[in-house]
Amino acid sequence: MSQTITIDPVTRLEGHGKITIHLNGQGEVEDAQFHVTQVRGFEKFSEGRPFYEMPSLMARICGICPVSHLIASAKACEAIMSVRIPHTAAQLRRMLNLAQMVQSHALSFFHLSSPDLLLGMDSDPAHRHIFGVAAARPDLGLAGIGLRRFGQHIIELLGDKRIHPGWVVPGGVTEPLAPSKRDEILAMLPEAYANVQLALTAYKQIADRFQQEISVFANFPSNYLGLINDDESIEFTDGTLRLIDPKGEIIEDGITANRFTEAIGEAVEPFSYTKFVYYKPLGYPQGSYRVGPLARLNIVKSIGTPLAEKEFAEYKQLSSGPIESSFFYHHARLVEALYGIEKIEEILTDPLILDKHVRATAGVNRLEGAGQIEAPRGTLSHHYKVDENGKMTWANLVVATGHNNNAMNKGVLQAARSYVKDGKFTEGALNRVEAVIRTFDPCLSCSTHAFGQMPLVLSLVSPDGEIVDQVVR
């Protein structure tokens, strides 16, 4: 009799998804799927609204990475206006973007994944959460909260609100940086460095215990996509996209936002509201790839800030070519968080950072525009069309979780095969299957521009669809 194991919802995840694992008559895993379960329709209901409203509307796609949507949207609008934003505005937005990356990485590592890493994959699910971590290791619990607060507080200082600030607008930002705020950010840096260093030390102490997980957590060759600078260093806000193959060779370089749709396609599978993104010349699914921290560190040749550069060099020792196991997203995330803090410090020393000229203005000069950036979890693209009056007529959004969708599904299958044996599994085994998804830190609210949830039920289903047994967690 065939059976289906359903993990619903996948918890400690940004948004809602389900996993189904299909077993054959012998109790072997035949297939596994990751489902994203809701859709909201930003691509449609933005129609008819003025384009300059888009940044603050599109930010409402996601409360975890609203800044990514704000900036990608503003860039698409600036393409429509054909303006270049002032230098200071670009630097301030870059700082905002990095602050968000740090807070989002802190959330992913501490609030969502550290319960698995620090308390153990098999630890009591009733305590496997951030409060459990704070009770077992108060220093790390507070470091996580502190590192997330660092990023969120910078966003609040720059944009007045921690979530959905209205400060980023087409053409730049609404307010320059006040000297008192710059000083406040500078004063926050030492604590942020200490917190991220604590996380790196803790991660390195425990990583060795996870050899088994490393070997099956989406551990396979793939292509990788991410932004990169001309000097091949890491980039989150500007630069162009590079795609590399499993050996690290460049497949295509210099993909600008304008050319994005020439290179990147989206396929639909019936079991998910999140589309499956792929590189068009290679087709689907061969043209699938990964994005996010693991991909970015596989693509770039350098980081460019001193402390993170050292950590990067150590990280690269893991493999002579691209690093393949998605378990290492955790490590890569911490290296990036350290880079983010260093880069924020560097931006604050820009002699023009307090300049008052922070916004360019223009009307509609083109009827189409696109913007792309690196969100914390990977490449994000916004593409809009407008009429002569600047009314939106069409929008398309391609988000990180769509790019990673194929790899997440393959990763879930790989882990399910090794943790579900003869139709038998433990709670900890299923938690590991969920933990594969957590490594990618997918943003499901982004990915369908929504989400949904229900209880975890393990159902054994007979071939005629009758439920023969159910276990509820």
Partner: protein, 177 residues
């Protein structure tokens, strides 16, 4: 005094209200001395518990799953809190209402897809014709407006609910912002 049982749930929202809840930062650990977070996207419980004292609900009701969930939450919670403008009034998710679900799905999965154009239908829940705020489905005890409500609003409201003190957040609310 035994701890109160707190649940937090996401329906059709952006998770920003949950993030603002986390923005209480270190005060979260103080809160954890008075409440147990028994069900939430940040803990591993998969089934909504039988008896919850306070349920914070983010998002509007947009799919058949959401509707089942909000009724279940109401049946098992002493107090239901509509958290944020989406739960309170529909807000951004309800912007799809003038277009209807078919047009939304058509744009995303047919027009804006390159390959295998089709409307997903396996496992994923059906969308409701009209997105509505939660009070149109169940009785709501407390409304916390804002997009999202600030961490300060959460802290003030939860302190009042946990201690049984007077609840006055009128100075802290920010409708539509």
């Amino acid at each position: 005094m035994s701890k109160l049982k707190l649940a937090t749930v996401w329906l059709d929202g952006c998770s920003g209200c949950h993030m603002s809840f986390l923005d209480m930062d270190e005060r979260l650990l103080e809160l954890a001395e008075f409440v147990d977070v028994v069900y939430s996207p940040i803990v591993d419980t998969k089934v909504f518990p039988d008896e919850v004292d306070i349920a914070l609900v983010e998002g509007a009701v947009a799919s058949v799953d959401d509707e089942i969930k909000i009724k279940k939450i109401r049946a098992h919670s002493k107090m239901v809190v509509a958290m944020g403008d989406c739960a309170v009034a529909g807000n951004v998710p309800s912007m799809r209402n003038p277009f209807g679900p078919e047009a939304i799905l058509e744009r995303a999965y047919i027009e804006n897809a390159t390959l295998q154009q089709q409307i997903p239908c396996v496992v994923v829940p059906k969308l409701l014709k009209v997105v509505r705020p939660i009070h149109e489905f169940v009785k709501v005890d407390v409304f916390l407006p804002g997009c999202p409500p600030s961490a300060e609003t959460f802290h003030t409201a939860l302190t009042a609910l946990v201690t049984g003190g007077p609840l006055d957040i009128s100075a802290l609310t920010r409708f539509g912002a």
